[in-house]
């Protein structure tokens, strides 16, 4: 029989996280990726506190210092964090999929070297996937790894690499040979960003600082010990990683938080909004619930050990388009204030403006809307 009751342990976790956020994150916080270095430092302090409570690695297996949380606790953690502008900063990438990929495919030595700093929240990873000629068509990547004594030399260029300027490590894809097939020869390298030959160039954008970078690799040396999995067979790892990313950010959670907050923030002005706008607001609440339910179907499939690409693609389409739809509704609710304000007291309006800018990328990042529609069409017509 149907049962959507939130388990008590999940409600307890939410309560603890909300209290922690209230205690440690000041109002008006808009995430780690701002021009103010204090925001990044704040996320580091927050991560240390989460680490102290063993909540940073909640999702990890206990043998790697985690808490064996089930998919619902993991979802609650993702939701509460995203709703609060991700106070873990860039850590979520290391925690959500770099760490788990190293657990599954790494050597004992790699696990010992990389997992503790990820678990402690003291390292930032970036993802070296996209290239100028390899966006949605990721297997078209050209970055080369050439065999040398004891390791590899990396040459090539990555682009759109988030957090590259603050990252200490990069989860990099490169080719070790000319491909006989498109997926052949792709290898995962764990690259120390302090190596000579790496140049990070920030790309100024409407999304804000740190989100987009170019990264150039010029004869960057990587030892054999930092190849993840088998040489030339990294595509399977990529596919697994992308599956983690498909559920990735709980965008619906921030949408819901902002929608719920709107009437109280506006106070008497709420009733003066056009009825048609308030109707869109009410409908957006319903759509937020729908997107969450589609996410939960993906999670239920994962829990049953039967991941379904169709369900994941449907969820991705729903949640990314929701993000943009809600961004528009909220912008209209706050009116001219949505253009930005220097008044730091106008916290909600600043959140709405920040959310709108970031939401513009939702149907592009981590698999475009078109790629997801393609997956759905192929599944439906197969």
């Amino acid at each position: 029989m149907l049962d959507y009751t939130e388990p008590e342990r999940v409600t307890r976790l939410r309560t603890e996280l909300r209290e922690l956020i209230r205690e440690l994150i000041p109002p008006g916080f808009l995430g780690a990726f701002t021009h103010d270095p204090a925001d990044f430092e704040l996320t580091q302090r927050f991560c240390r506190e989460l680490g102290r409570r063993r909540m940073l690695t909640l999702a990890w297996p206990s043998r790697y210092g985690g808490a064996d949380a089930d998919v619902w606790e993991q979802a609650a953690l993702r939701e509460e964090m995203w709703a609060a502008h991700e106070p873990r900063g860039a850590q979520y990438m290391g925690l959500n999929w770099v760490g788990p990929a190293i657990m599954r495919h790494g050597t004992e030595e790699q696990r010992a070297r990389h997992l503790p700093p990820i678990a402690a929240g003291t390292v930032v990873w970036c993802q070296g996937f996209s290239e100028p000629e390899a966006g949605s068509d990721l297997p078209a990547l050209r970055t080369r790894a050439t065999r040398v004594d004891g390791g590899w030399l990396i040459n090539g260029q990555k682009v759109w690499t988030s957090y590259a300027g603050m990252a200490q490590w990069c989860f990099l894809l490169a080719r070790v040979r000319a491909p006989s097939q498109r997926h052949d020869g792709i290898t995962v390298f764990l690259v120390d960003m302090a190596q000579p030959g790496i140049e990070v160039r920030p790309i100024a954008s409407m999304l804000g600082p740190h989100h987009l970078n170019e990264v150039y690799f010029d004869d960057v040396w990587v030892p054999d010990s930092e190849v993840l999995g088998e040489v030339g067979r990294g595509w399977a790892i990529v596919m697994e990683v992308l599956r983690f990313e498909r559920i990735g950010i709980a965008r619906y959670a921030r949408c819901e938080k902002l929608l719920r907050a709107a009437p109280a923030v506006l106070g008497d002005a709420w009733g003066r909004l056009p009825a048609s706008l308030r109707e869109r607001w009410a409908l957006a609440l319903v759509r937020t619930r729908q997107a969450r339910l589609l996410a939960y179907r993906v999670l239920a499939n994962a829990e049953n050990g039967s991941p379904e690409p169709l369900a994941a693609a449907l969820y991705r389409i729903a949640v990314t388009t929701l993000d943009q739809e809600v961004a528009e509704v909220l912008m209209e609710i706050v009116g001219n204030r949505g253009l930005g304000t220097t008044d730091k007291q106008l916290e909600f309006e600043r959140e709405v403006e920040d959310h709108w800018r970031y939401a513009q990328a939702s149907t592009v990042a981590s698999g475009t809307l078109e790629m997801n529609k393609h997956v759905v069409a192929r599944a439906v017509l197969s």
Binding site: L2, A282, L283, V286, Q290, L293, L294, Y296, A377
Partner: protein, 330 residues
């Protein structure tokens, strides 16, 4: 968390489906449109299954069974007041508009009718004329007289609204499946039109509409069975209704477009499904009026957090009042 319907419900739904298929499927609708008297015979198909003994307001299992039965009937746009009788407790409950003119489907059939509007207000109802409209969009629609009564049956309204959506869900699933099949069969420019990306993307939109509606419909069933705040349950049902009307627009607009001219003909089921969907999409109130009611209720009753019954009030913008035209009496 469990998003699977009970085995009993699924099995019963399959039996209803088989029975309607055996009676002719969508052809029953074709026959009854030509001769509305055929609806009595159609109803007899369901009489034999004991459908009217269900009491969907009495518990979650009966509610699930009633939902899948409604979905099975909707899959063929079965021309009989299935939902109306499922919630009728021996009679039939019509959803009626707050203001006239009012149309109620099948109100000419001799059943113990009573009415309730989208806010749960009760009405005495009866046909304004003895014969159905017989129009292309509402062959079984009957102009209705409705007299408001003092009481409110908020939970009854919520369940009726929700089961009508399950009926529409079944219809949309059929329309989608028919359209997928047609795009694989129809050849243009030397290949099935399914192989054009524009077709694939349209089918993706339709698939999302159906899947998103199904997940919300399941959730709302659960919510109705567990939400003790009746106004909160009605908000959930109305939210589902508006989402369903949007899904219907996406699915049936796509179904028509991808079927081309063929989709308008009486030969093709999509043509009948599209017309039959109007009964839920326009009655008792259309999308815009349903949305206005939803807003009014969300602002007074709130909107619960998912999986956490009783949290609706946290969002209420306006205080509730004990009775009145604009708010639900609790």
């Amino acid at each position: 968390m469990n998003g699977d319907l009970s085995v009993e419900a699924v099995e019963f739904g399959a039996v209803v489906r088989q029975s309607i298929e055996a009676a002719g499927g969508v052809d029953v609708l074709r026959r009854c449109a030509a001769d509305p008297a055929g609806r009595t015979e159609a109803g007899a198909v369901l009489d034999r299954l004991g459908l009217w003994d269900l009491r969907p307001l009495d518990g979650p299992l009966e509610l699930e069974v009633a939902a899948v039965a409604s979905r099975a009937a909707g899959a063929f746009a079965f021309p009989y007041p299935v939902v109306e009788r499922l919630v009728g407790n021996g009679g039939a409950v019509a959803l009626v508009a707050e203001h006239g003119p009012r149309v109620v489907m099948h109100l000419d059939l001799p059943l113990e009718w009573r009415g309730v509007d989208l806010r749960g207000r009760q009405y005495r109802v009866g046909p304004a004329s003895p014969d159905p409209l017989g129009t292309p969009l509402a062959p079984f629609g009957v102009e209705a007289l409705a007299e408001p009564e003092d009481g409110h049956e908020v939970r009854l309204a919520a369940v009726a609204i929700t089961l009508h959506v399950w009926w529409l869900l079944g219809l949309l699933e059929t329309a989608l499946a028919d359209t997928v099949r047609y795009t694989q069969e129809r050849v243009q420019f030397g290949r099935p039109i399914a192989r054009f990306q524009a077709t694939g993307f349209r089918l993706a939109d339709m698939t999302l509409a159906v899947n998103g509606l199904e997940e919300l419909a399941k959730y709302t069933l659960w919510s109705l069975a567990h939400e003790e705040d009746r106004a909160g349950a009605l908000v959930d049902a109305l939210g589902l209704r508006v989402a369903a009307l949007d899904a219907a627009e996406t699915v049936l607009r796509g179904a028509h477009q991808l079927h081309g001219a063929m989709g308008f003909t009486n030969e093709v089921n999509v043509s009948w499904l599209s017309r039959a969907s109007q009964s839920v999409r326009r009655l008792p109130e259309d999308r815009q009026r349903s949305l206005a009611t939803l807003l009014d209720l969300v602002e007074t009753a709130g909107f619960a957090e998912l999986g956490r019954p009783g949290t609706a009030r946290n969002l209420a913008v306006r205080p509730r009042v004990a009775s009145g035209q604009r708010t639900v009496a609790i």
